[in-house]
Symmetry: D2
Subunit: 426 residues, 4 copies
């Protein structure tokens, strides 16, 4: 591990400065693959709801690296025996690169094309890339190790734990960062305090008991951010349109439709045959440019959806307490009858939220727990100790939302059957 002659810093609004001390980290940041993350927004389409949320996964990845660096630095200052010092660079690299495989509008594109960003992260790390070359300079097996931390099967679970757990650097950074850029102040947590409370202990990261309140506050912040930001119905509406665009384009491609505009690597995407090099060409600039061109496609469904997305003409929604399959069927039939397209003019959405999966007897997955360490060195799962955590863990909130094109609905609502028109009248 090469130390830089002089520490490099990035100015960051969330952490003030991001400190880079190793040349490996510095060089990874400067790879084409990592720079690509500048063209992928951290919150996908949320900027259509919160106009400030234009921040990139590049920023977030630097933030995750920085928090990880601070945690390790705290461990080293305190000389904790349970921290495997030799894993420092590995942990930092994995933290920095953990989101490398994210595609444009990640959640929507993954759903539409059944991709998995973690899988792509590993492929990029192990493939013929600049990132791989730099990692391989550390040691021949270093890329494999980094990929293994991402895959959560690395031999030292504590390293995995730092990069991926209910209280990991990833979650802490996105909470703070998303709150900062949306302007929503629910995400402000006392990160300094949380960091001071973390300890490596018997192969995993635990929290000193005196940090319980800070962790409660962190979980409440997550809870609020889920409802205020991540599951915002307007954002869901834009995601729905995005997925419909992808779905329509895929259908058209399958049916040999002659696109007026089609560039690489879209065919590969439609055919599920993307090489790593193809995949790296995918970014949000490309997707937006394609959609912009597609506003002129002769296929009316595709061009309309693309116009909606580009000019932010989103679907409206109604909230319903519950909805059964029969009713959905009736709505679809009604839609068809009055000339709406039930395939594209209706989406049923049920948001779910699990801010923290509580311990369940017999649950083996200790990686999903937050453990408190008390003065007598006993470990307890936080939901055993905290009423707050226990009470929010059980909450299943959220209602069904029916999304539909508002303008079209206006014209036909009077022709819908009574129970259906009742729903959309609100």
């Amino acid at each position: 591990m090469h130390t830089l002659n002089e520490e490099k810093v990035f100015k960051d609004p969330v952490h003030n400065y991001i400190h880079v001390q190793h040349s490996t980290i510095w060089r990874l940041i400067n790879t084409a693959e990592f720079q690509r993350l500048r063209r992928i927004r951290q919150l996908g389409t949320s900027y259509l709801t919160f106009h400030g949320a234009e921040h990139s996964r590049f920023s977030h990845s630097l933030g995750v690296y920085e928090i990880t660096r601070r945690i390790i630095s705290q461990f080293e200052r305190n000389g904790y025996a349970d921290w495997p010092h030799s894993e420092k660079l590995l942990t930092l690299c994995a933290a920095l690169l953990h989101d490398l495989g994210h595609g444009p509008f990640s959640h929507s594109i993954e759903e539409a094309f059944e991709m998995d960003h973690e899988d792509w992260t590993r492929r990029i790390i192990l493939g013929d890339t600049e990132v791989n070359a730099i990692l391989a300079e550390v040691a021949d097996d270093f890329p494999v190790k980094v990929a293994s931390v991402i895959a959560k099967d690395y031999v030292h679970p504590i390293v995995v734990n730092l990069v991926s757990s209910p209280l990991d650097a990833d979650r802490m950074d996105y909470l703070l960062r998303d709150a900062y850029y949306t302007g929503v102040n629910y995400g402000t947590i006392d990160i300094d305090r949380i960091l001071r409370m973390l300890r490596p202990y018997q192969g995993r990261i635990v929290v000193k008991e005196s940090g319980m309140h800070a962790v409660e506050d962190y979980l409440m912040s997550r809870y609020q951010m889920y409802w205020q930001v991540y599951f915002h119905p307007v954002t869901r509406s834009s995601e729905i349109i995005l997925r419909q665009i992808f779905r329509r384009a895929k259908e058209l491609y399958r049916d040999h439709y002659a696109f007026g505009f089609l560039i690489d690597p879209l065919p590969g995407l439609f055919e599920d045959k993307l090489s790593v090099q193809d995949y790296l060409k995918l970014d949000e600039a490309l997707i937006q440019t394609v959609f912009s061109q597609w506003t002129n496609e002769k296929d009316a469904v595709l061009s309309e959806l693309c116009s909606r997305f580009m000019h932010r003409r989103l679907y409206k929604y109604v909230e319903v307490e519950s909805v059964d399959l029969e009713m959905i069927d009736q709505i679809r039939r009604d839609f068809k009858r009055v000339g709406l397209n039930p395939e594209y003019d209706l989406e049923v959405d049920f948001p779910t939220d699990l801010p923290y999966d509580v311990f369940r007897p017999g649950d083996e997955s200790s990686q999903k727990q937050i453990l408190l360490l008390d003065r007598e060195e006993r470990l307890r799962e936080i939901s055993e100790v905290s009423d707050i955590v226990r009470s929010i863990s059980g909450i299943h909130r959220g209602k069904y939302h029916l999304y539909y094109p508002g303008s079209k609905m206006k014209d036909v609502i009077s022709s819908l059957s009574d129970p259906v028109s009742q729903i959309f009248k609100r």
Copy 2:
């Protein structure tokens, strides 16, 4: 002017909430032309220096609108007779739309293609656009009026003054917003205090004398932001590459080079024949996608420049106290001799800074002054009263920077003539 049934708000990190009360404003925001501003960054390539600076002109335009709204609201609360109440909607529309004509990477593209964003703003407002249609609903001559405010020749100079002056809503918003998103804290000004100190007076906006310190602080903040952010040499480096790409592509187009990838409206841009509809297709997503495709062009100069821009392989620079034409000539000759391309491998840059143009006897342009109003209702130009303003007004700072490709230079530096290699050795 239609008041909305219920005020709409946008959550904004800088102003907390942006309040929309008139349906005209609401509908303008929802036009395709205004939504396009989401795809144009406020600070152009600065995100390559400050990774947080990914905010759009959409955000900024809302901010300018909001500050203008607050100023007018203060004028109305205080019942100032000099404020022409009937101009409220006009002023708000002009504030909202003043940046509508910005192109992608605005400063660079304007320089490369001799365009003017204010000119485009007026063309969009007066052209066959959604914005025009909505404005025309207010009154037939309303679009012309808005365009006239943008052109700074509207009949009521106070309206122009609010939208464009050394202490206008535009500058106040960008100072705060750019500071927020870069994370640089030099731009924090006491905007509430400044707003309270503004007064309409004899056809223009003046500042109560007791607000002098707040204005000094604002000018100092601008001064610092210029040097810390706007003129940052790394940002200049990325702008230089951008301009070189535009220049090279224009040359190639002129010389009938067969581009591997070329989409509308690029030909129109190269031929200086853009319609309003063409222009509106230009955004940063398109530019980035084109550059990304061009990394594979066979023209080596173009493909290399595009790679540099997309993967952030910027030019290095050296700072020199001064440089004369003769020396530049010698450098060019040397470059040529050792196989560098003086047309593209060298750029000389001299940053200038005029945070506030001081009053000069005989200067007619009262629009460029900040006037203080004292208790005896005397008006004085701020630089007459403030030592601070006077002292920073005169400062011409900045040095010459020579930009060049660092990797190429390494190979040839030993072959350069002595005085030239001295310069680039540092």
Copy 3:
């Protein structure tokens, strides 16, 4: 009601500016009685735990006034019919003055001398004071009206509601202010959003349903502030010492002990015979000065307690899950046996927390509810709608704490009986 020629402002770190528009408010602030609040800390002895918490009730009272002003201003902007416009000045005066009767280290002194600050607030408002004179200039019955709002029996319950309810200006200000001055970031709430969501409705203040999340967040913040700040065991320790000092001094006075230092109005305080003028002399400067002098009293108990308070030599504590009367009795006997004084060397403390009293069927006190108003104009108690509120409402947290002088304990712990020494050994 006299409007000031020019609005006056106070610079405030929490609300940025506090705006005073009426001369009555301005003059009330300048009374001797209101200025006295500068010498009474908002958080009593909390500054011994959080050194930043040195802010006064003067600051807080201005903040409560300002929030109330903003709420009313919102009501007026929206032209809500249910807001009785003529009560504006009354509401503002009551908001400003509601804490006027607080004594030094209020909670402790009230407990020790069975006083009630609301009662004193009314006595000051109705007594021969500057405040009374200024209020009486508005109308003869105006002081009585203000006192009646404080007493919560004013004829318009909506006025009472604004000044005192689970979501009143008082609670909102102290949450924000205490968080700011302690540096604890749990109290950051989106006050702008909450204010926008308030509505006068059928004689009380209700919250629009869309503001539910903001209210949840506010209640969670209160919950966290209670545990992190208000019930901090170190603060409790200092309050215990304070109460013991008061208790000891009262006993000594009753027993005709010859104090080395005793000034007015202490005798009146001990005899429960304070006039309004006497009461107004009580402030924290006086209490601290008296304690400082008493560090030299010959009564060892008093002088030691005063030294403890002045030099922050607080009692230590142990936390126990539960403790029964029998055990306490045994501890007392043990203490006596080993030479400790059970009257002063032991305090048992059980903190309780009720962040929000939930609705109970049959509960008449609608003043204690937070009501949500949905689009169909139905009112619902928030705990009916919010899982979060329901779950935190039921939580009874906190453990018993036993406080004792740590240094003395060290010397005797080995002589204590086994079960007792077990407790204090931790």
Copy 4:
């Protein structure tokens, strides 16, 4: 030097956490002498202008310690050879204790009684105090060393430099802290950046040249804080009254006036015979209590001044461009003639400001310079390099202010001679 088993932290609004790692520091904080600083406000009477400015010298002293700790930690991380590692504890102790000798309302009391707080700091450190005992445990000569750093004659000038220089921890903390507590945002500086730019170099602390902008910003912040806060005319007015109270009491004491209330250590103060133990009894609680009692003194001048101070009935002021001795004489004669007391009813004040003393050829006092270190390891005084610093260094701003009792003036102004009444009429 004893390291604590576990680092202790203080929650601080300015630095987030203050970290204590050595038991010596921990024990010094817990001394009676250091705890006394809780009862001395950092900004004296400024809380009468900015109600939030109620923070104590205790808070500030912790802040100075913390900044010093961070600077040293940076030096150690970077392994700078010029930093004498063995002086760490000494530097930290001196930083923590440097304000120990401040009296109540320090600037005013020092002026009135010709005291010097640095002198008292040394006396407390060397006297029979808890602080002295703890320091002496480190080494016999350790108290002398600490006192010598305070006296600026310690053998290693770099230690003195850290604790006292134009860019020392003291100034940085008070700028940030005073801005935070007043709510004025002129004092926000990028302290992390400044700290990173400091280097020990040849026996003093210098700044890397690339930190010049940050230092400029810091000096501008100081400049603004001086004018907005430290020299605020309302604060000056309260200081004037304070000094008059001290002056009057001293005169009365000298003239054997029978005070209705007089407690230790006031006689010692009046006679200039304070022991260290006496001095430590002086705090702002005592001063305020004495003044409160003195509002009932039979000496009308004293009782009125004390009422003014306690109830914030400050002197009014007029601003004049210049005033000569003759005019002052005439005012005094006029005042006498119309029954005003020129000794107490008039104060002439000329504020001065030297944000940064520029280098003057021949100036030996290198301790007063800020030196920049460039890449070629050349040292240059900042005002040689920075236009901004040069331009603000020369500014002598400020006007004369004449302070007087507004209410009395009203009654007599018509009887004053013409030129005098002109002045006070504004």
